[in-house]
Point group: C2
Chain length 210, copies 2
Amino acid sequence: MIRSETGDDGAEGGGVTAERRRPGRRPGSADTRGEIVVAARKIFAEKGFDKATIRGIAREAGVDPALVHHYFDTKEGIFVAALHLPVDPSKVIPLVLEGPREEVGERVARFILTMTADPMAREPIVALVRSAMTNERVVAMIREFMTRAILERVAVGLDIPPLRMEAAFAQMFGVVLLRYVLQVEPVASVDIEELVGLLAPTIQRYLGAD
Amino acid sequence: MIRSETGDDGAEGGGVTAERRRPGRRPGSADTRGEIVVAARKIFAEKGFDKATIRGIAREAGVDPALVHHYFDTKEGIFVAALHLPVDPSKVIPLVLEGPREEVGERVARFILTMTADPMAREPIVALVRSAMTNERVVAMIREFMTRAILERVAVGLDIPPLRMEAAFAQMFGVVLLRYVLQVEPVASVDIEELVGLLAPTIQRYLGAD
């Protein structure tokens, strides 16, 4: 074990000063985290989400897999960071699903509309959809991530068929596209709460019990 | 009035052999229709749907506006031809809205899913959405066409607020994207009638009476 000469990289908590040095592997440096992110983007684009591994990303970045784990915890965490996604589904979904089942539709609709109202949160998602429209590899990567990290997790958490979750996702996805990408009126300008009132019963029908 | 030397252009009914010759305007030729389409694409992309005119398209193509009318009837008709859209909304919407109001959700869901099941019908729509994702002018053009030719027409026809129509459109648009572009399972492979059963009550809630 050696101390990294450069110390804190400024990007994360700051506790990352020790790691194993192995032949051909560099210690944590000012941009180790950034280099892992760059490596991750390459690996995810090449292999998709399912076949990408933390070990493969570490190899591409020339660092120890433990360092990747340290920075990003899980493969989902790396994906979220690499694509600048606004939230990690594994952390947000349990919070949204928590609470009365008869209000899950309202919670999901309000969460998605509130999150996407922030341009800083929305832009990376729009950018991802944009590149998916023209790149088959990006499509595969998004499809696998969506399926594993969002759709399956919600369907299992609520004990509903995946198709119902996909119908709910399609409703919210379509609204976000009309509101922010196509900017059709009145959906582009209407108040979030008016949209929640209109959409929540739909999402409730898909995600509610029974 | 003169006869076009080249006769039928092979693209339409075949009755277009006579037209007025004016200075600087060419008579109908083997690809007059194709030239109008090329001109229309340019004008729609430059001016959007609302500000484009048949007169402006005719001028760009170097033909008489009456010839444009003859081939395409309306500005919507030219747009549909220029962008290879599978159907002209002005012709299809009345048919879909006709029939019992309490089944309009089912009719709309089945129509959209059946139409988009045909790759020849779907591809131009996907291509259009694709270019909208990366080109602001295409976005404006689609937004205007959607608003005038689809959303307003249905909202007026059914006497519902436009926002309800947009919610319905968003649901179907999202499902088509998940099914055919992102190809997420199970929605990508499931039978159309199963999807109609799942989605029709949603569309009915938005488009139904009251």
